[in-house]
């Protein structure tokens, strides 16, 4: 593994995370590992280690954090947040980190696909004639897609959907 050069990292990164709503607690971490112990994801995927993610953020490993796919593995169970003695509020920190990743266009392809579905259909699943016929038989009113609202809140952008990602499929 190549050495990580601290001179090439971004000392500003920890402050940027801490500036995000929810990211304020980041720098209070004293690395006790309670969060990692409480995390249900960590035993399944070792790459997702709350304590290490905090450490990487504190050291300014911006690229390695934002372009990683493991930051999207958080299940938002708030287990880490409950046990943290330093009130880091790590689940919120993860939202802050993911927001920054989105700003840098580092979004896994699964999420990008969901976004375009939302923009196009106003929902995560397309509702077509097949579904509406079924609903009619069951006495339910048809669903009419109103994508225009989402079109407003999700403006057009060039999404480099697979920047930094190769294999993620994300379903949450």
């Amino acid at each position: 593994m190549p050495k990580i050069n601290l001179n090439e990292l971004d000392p500003e990164f920890k402050h940027r995370v801490a500036e995000q709503p929810g990211g304020e607690g980041l720098k209070a971490c004293f690395a006790c590992k309670a969060c990692t112990a409480a995390c249900p994801i960590q035993p399944i995927d070792k790459r997702y280690d709350p304590r290490k993610i905090i450490r990487m953020a504190l050291l300014g490993m911006k690229k390695q954090v934002l372009e990683s796919d493991f930051i999207w593995l958080c299940s938002s169970c708030y287990g880490c947040q409950e046990v943290c003695p330093q009130n880091v509020r790590f689940t919120e920190v993860m939202y802050a980190i993911k927001n920054l990743a989105a700003q840098e266009a580092c979004i896994p392809p699964g999420l990008t696909a969901q976004r375009s579905l939302l923009k196009k259909h106003g929902r995560l699943y397309e509702v077509g004639e097949f579904e509406n016929e079924k609903r009619l038989k069951m006495g339910l009113p048809p669903i009419i897609e109103h994508a225009e609202d989402f079109d407003v809140i999700l403006p057009d952008q060039t999404v480099e959907s697979d920047r930094g990602h190769s294999s993620t499929s994300h379903n949450s």
Partner: protein, 521 residues
């Protein structure tokens, strides 16, 4: 002993001074604090001399006698210290009743320990603070960030005062733009008023701390500068840093004058370069030796409030000590049987309180002796005894009980008071001034006389008022257990346990263990 004044015997003196005790105070260093102590003492009718190091600057003060020089030789006891002071012009001999040290330890560079050569961008901690305070600037960089690497508590342990210096440097660097500070450390030392909060403030501000358990960082130097290589302790990944500046903390050592004071106390290697052990047994400005007091920097305390408290406290301690009269009956303190003594000087080298002097024969200063009994047990001739002990502790009513519990009066006895009578029904309690008075032979004698089990309850390590009294006791228990094994007895019937006044359960546990052992065999 009657009629003989043993209050003043000198280790190195050729004659025995039998004068009245002196009430003059020698104050070592301490800048303005040393001079303030002299002023407060003067208001309480104590004359004093402030000794300032030859190269030290000091504020002029007409009310206080200030001498610039260093201690060349010192001996004696409270009320009668004989001191040779070497000044620039001569060597003067004076007598003092009390000594107050307010000098901070000296600092020596650690840079050599890292096997690197000194260069422009490498500083010692105190040097760097001075550099910044005298208007020194940091190197500018047009492109990007500047990096400073601090090394703290690596290659030899460092202390609170040094961490305070480090934090005050971080305070000063706060206004610098585009500067990242890294601290490579083993253990941070934050145990001083407000220091913990200041440390957390800087961590919050963005200073990065690397805490190593082992695998210290390695520094490589070439013509382009220095590169620090290390395994990041939390991520386990190899990292490198090319810092613009490296700052190293320093090794602490006592000043020359403080060293001669420390030499008066045989237990001092346990707490040097400071004059006071880091232990709750030493209140305020007390040191293990009577008549010697440690103020502020000389006991590792640097915050302003504690310094002010110490200045007031030392006067109270000296006032109290000046009212103490030696009990010349020799009761309650150790005394030497000069018929048995073979001048091996074991007692002199071992007395944790520096209470033993030598003028043609060992003499014990009754005001300095704390009756810990370390000398009593270690004397190879059995020539030392503490007279009042032994008589009071043995009562015929309890001496037939099968379990002997030997406790230190400072910790174990208070713990025993919290144990219910039922548990103690079979236990004879023997209280000593210090577990250091327990000998292996006395332990074996209990078994010879039919004891079912013996428990020695000393203090926790670092909590012993006689520094190593408890440690010696534990060692002797181990030795006695070996003898028991060789004699075919169960060594588990002899137990050493560390206790404090608030841990009676440890004694109960030991009693239960012995009871179980004795009954089941």
């Amino acid at each position: 002993m009657s009629g003989q004044v043993t209050q003043s015997v000198f280790l190195k003196g050729v004659h025995r001074i039998q004068e009245e005790a002196s009430s003059k105070v020698l104050i070592l260093g301490g800048d303005e604090y040393g001079i303030r102590i002299a002023e407060v003492l003067k208001n309480n009718a104590f004359d004093s001399t402030v000794l300032i190091e030859p190269n030290e600057k000091y504020p002029a003060n007409p009310k206080v006698e200030i001498v610039q020089g260093s201690i060349r030789d010192i001996s004696g006891f409270m009320g009668n210290f004989s001191v040779q002071i070497e000044t620039l012009s001569n060597v003067a001999h004076s007598r003092f009743g009390y000594i107050v040290a307010a000098q901070p330890p000296h600092r020596e560079s650690k840079i050599n320990a890292f096997a690197i050569h000194d260069s422009k961008s490498i500083y010692n901690l105190s040097e760097f603070k001075h550099y910044l305070n005298s208007g020194g600037r940091l190197p500018e960089r047009k492109d990007g960030w500047r990096h400073i690497a601090f090394f703290f508590d690596l290659k030899g342990s460092s202390d609170v005062s040094q961490f305070e210096t480090l934090v005050s440097i971080l305070d000063r660097l706060e206004t610098e733009d585009r500067l990242q500070s890294y601290v490579f450390t083993r253990n941070l030392k934050v145990a001083s008023l407000g220091l913990d909060a200041r440390f957390r403030y800087h961590r919050q501000r963005g200073v990065v701390f690397f805490k190593f358990d082992n695998d210290d960082p390695v520094i490589n130097q070439d013509e382009n500068g220095s590169v620090i290589t290390f395994i990041e302790p939390l991520l386990g990944e190899e990292m490198e840093l090319t810092p613009d500046i490296m700052v190293f903390d320093e090794i602490l050592g006592p000043s020359e004058s403080l060293r001669s004071i420390l030499n008066l106390i045989p237990s001092s290697p346990a707490f040097s370069p400071y004059l006071q052990p880091e232990s709750s047994r030493f209140q305020g400005v007390e040191t293990p030796k009577a008549g010697i007091y440690a103020v502020g920097p000389s006991r590792g305390v640097f915050d302003v409030e504690s310094l002010n408290a110490d200045v007031q406290a030392v006067t109270v301690y000296i006032l109290k000590a000046s009212m103490e009269k030696p009990d010349l009956s020799g009761k309650g303190v150790a005394s030497v049987d000069h018929g048995k003594c073979t001048f091996c000087l074991t007692c002199l080298r071992l007395c944790p309180h520096g209470a033993i002097g030598f003028i043609s024969r060992p003499e014990i200063d009754p005001l300095s002796c704390r009756a810990c009994g370390v000398c009593v047990v270690e004397c190879p001739m059995g020539a030392i005894e503490i007279r009042s002990l032994g008589e009071s502790t043995l009562s015929t009513e309890t001496s037939s009980r099968p379990i002997k519990l030997i406790v230190c009066a400072k910790s174990g006895l208070q713990a025993v008071a919290k144990i219910s009578a039922g548990i103690l029904a079979d236990v004879e309690i023997i209280a000593l001034q210090c577990a250091g008075n327990v000998s292996a032979i006395s332990l074996l004698e209990y078994f010879r006389d039919g004891a079912g089990g013996v428990i020695v309850a000393g203090c926790f390590k670092g909590n012993c008022a006689s520094i190593y009294g408890s440690t010696l006791a534990e060692r002797r228990v181990g030795y006695a257990a070996e003898v028991l094994t060789q004699a075919g007895l169960d060594p588990e019937r002899l137990e050493f346990t560390s206790v404090a006044g608030n841990t009676p359960e440890r004694i109960v546990e030991a009693i239960m263990k012995i009871k179980h052992r004795v009954i089941s065999h």
